[in-house]
Amino acid sequence: MNTEELMQTVNLCRSFGGLKANDCVNISLKRGQMHALIGPNGAGKSTLINLLSGDIPATSGQVIYRGVDITNFSPHERSVIGIGRSYQKTNIFPGFTVRENCRLSAQSRNQRPLRIFSDADNWLPYRYEVDDVLTRTGLVNVADKRAGELSHGQQRQLELAIVLTTRPEVLLLDEPLAGMGYEESLQMIELLRGLLVSHAILLVEHDMDAVFSISNILTVMVNGVVLMTDTPENVRSSKEVQEAYLGSEQPLHD
């Protein structure tokens, strides 16, 4: 398998006042790897994703992408070089059609701001890109609906479609399955599996069945600190993790 390292952090820290939300986090994302990030609420998972995507600045430490220190890059600069993220709380353009949601995302790769005589709707490169992503994410039938009118599950699909249209190399997914029904979850997991070969994926997810079935490597965080990073089998059998994660009363998963 191709395991080129795309993104890593070096002693990445972020404090909110006296609270160390992320304390010396070292993590490495490789192409072809589904890297799951788990931990109890408040462990710092979302903070880590926000640090990687640039939504919040780091207090200290570095974020490296393809050997370049991008710690000071803004979110849009990180998006442009190939880091895409989805949000836990659906973050779409509710007043626009599904198509326009994805078209804007396609436009971000080729913004053409000075082409004021160009009709954004009918520029073919955008259209091809949008048609392609709508097909892949199963949103073709609702393409002309307003995004705000979609069901929750469809909005989650759109959330991912928007990221995919930016053609990222690294995907930071913050609970893509949150609030999805069983069928929808299965579809989403299939979709993620298909993306795995060509992407490095960081997955924050509470659905442990999903996590253990699709991830190749797991990082467990507790109180802002990385407890361990290992294969799913080793994590599952680790006493340490079971104690920290579930208060040692029940096995993490059987």
Partner: protein, 326 residues
């Protein structure tokens, strides 16, 4: 089918509007001709504000700063320092100066959001107000300045038209207004315009999918300032005078009111709003001295019953039509 009909209905209405507008000065009622000129200038002002308010989601409460600045550029060049009164130099100068200063101000104010943005835009406009109110070198005086004359239009020895004639000025302003409407309709369907609307809808996501949001907003702020400057320039010519009140927050509020009356984020909202606002003003002030009060009542009624502005009447009629006949 309905779409096709409503599309032609729309086009017919627009064509009819332009024909009536073009024919109006031929009635020879100079008072009313000048009133419509004022309406068209305010339309330009409102449209320029709508680029920020309705399309980018930036509530600027300092738009009069650019309006007044455009006016003063002409007053200073043509009257105070008597460098040139030539239209082809002073109009671009007015727009470039306002664009330049809105760019500079934009660098600061666009770092703020929401309520703070409203306040700092207002603060900057007040700064400019007091500069033109107090600085002698900028013609500072609460009375402003009377202008020496209309801009000359000579290109070499050739004089294409004379702005001294009210009717010619009317058509000149109309041409600029139609030009701006055309420019806006192109801009709004272009990638740039779509990005602005994306910022209005969800600024955070635009940033996260790779748009340099700040730069887009700065570009919108600059373009918007330049067109407000153009409106102010024309207004100075219409009145043959300038005064600091053109930069006051009343003027900024008038622009906002016009958009609320006409409909924000709608190409024709500014035009309809300017017509409604000034007609209301004229009609009410002929009946009563307390016309401000009735103006307030009218605005409240429109906001209550037509929250999308006057232009939303069109949508409503369309919906009723659809329910009846399909």
């Amino acid at each position: 089918m309905i779409a096709a009909i409503s599309l032609t209905a729309r086009n017919v209405t627009i064509a009819l509007f332009f024909i009536l507008l073009a024919a109006f000065p031929q009635l020879g009622q100079d008072f009313y001709t000048e009133m419509v000129i004022r309406v068209m200038i305010m339309s330009i002002f409102a449209i320029s504000l709508d680029l920020l308010l309705g399309y980018t989601g930036l509530v600027s409460f300092g738009h009069a700063g650019w309006f007044g600045m455009g006016a003063y550029v002409f007053a200073l060049l043509g009257t105070k320092y008597q460098l040139t009164s030539n239209l082809w130099l002073t109009l671009p100068a007015a727009m470039l100066v306002t664009a330049f200063f809105s760019f500079l101000v934009g660098l600061f104010v666009l770092r703020t959001r929401g309520m703070f943005f409203i306040m700092v835009t207002l603060a900057f406009a007040q700064i400019f107000y007091f500069l033109f109110h107090d600085l002698k070198s900028l013609g500072g005086s609460s009375d402003g300045m009377n202008l020496r004359g209309k801009p000359t239009t000579a290109i070499g020895d050739w004089i294409p038209f004379e702005l001294t004639s009210t009717n010619t000025f009317y058509y000149f302003v109309m041409l600029l207004m139609v030009g701006l409407l055309l420019f806006m309709s192109l801009l709004l369907r272009s990638p740039f315009g779509r990005a602005l609307q994306g910022i209005r809808e969800n600024e955070h996501r635009m940033e996260s999918i790779g748009f340099p949001v700040f730069r887009y907003k700065l570009a919108a702020f600059t373009i918007s300032g330049a067109f407000a400057g153009m409106a102010g320039y024309l207004f100075a010519i219409l009145n043959s005078s300038v005064n600091p009140e053109m930069l006051s927050w009343h003027q900024s509020a008038d622009g906002l009111l016009m958009l609320i009356l006409g409909g924000m984020g709608q190409l024709w909202g500014g035009v309809i709003g300017a017509f409604t606002f000034i007609l209301l003003q004229e009609v009410l002030s002929t009946f009563t001295k307390q016309w401000h009060l009735w103006m307030g009542v009218a605005i409240i009624l429109i906001v209550l019953f037509l929250p999308g502005g006057m232009i939303s009447i069109v949508e409503r009629i369309k919906n009723i039509w659809k329910r009846r006949f399909t």
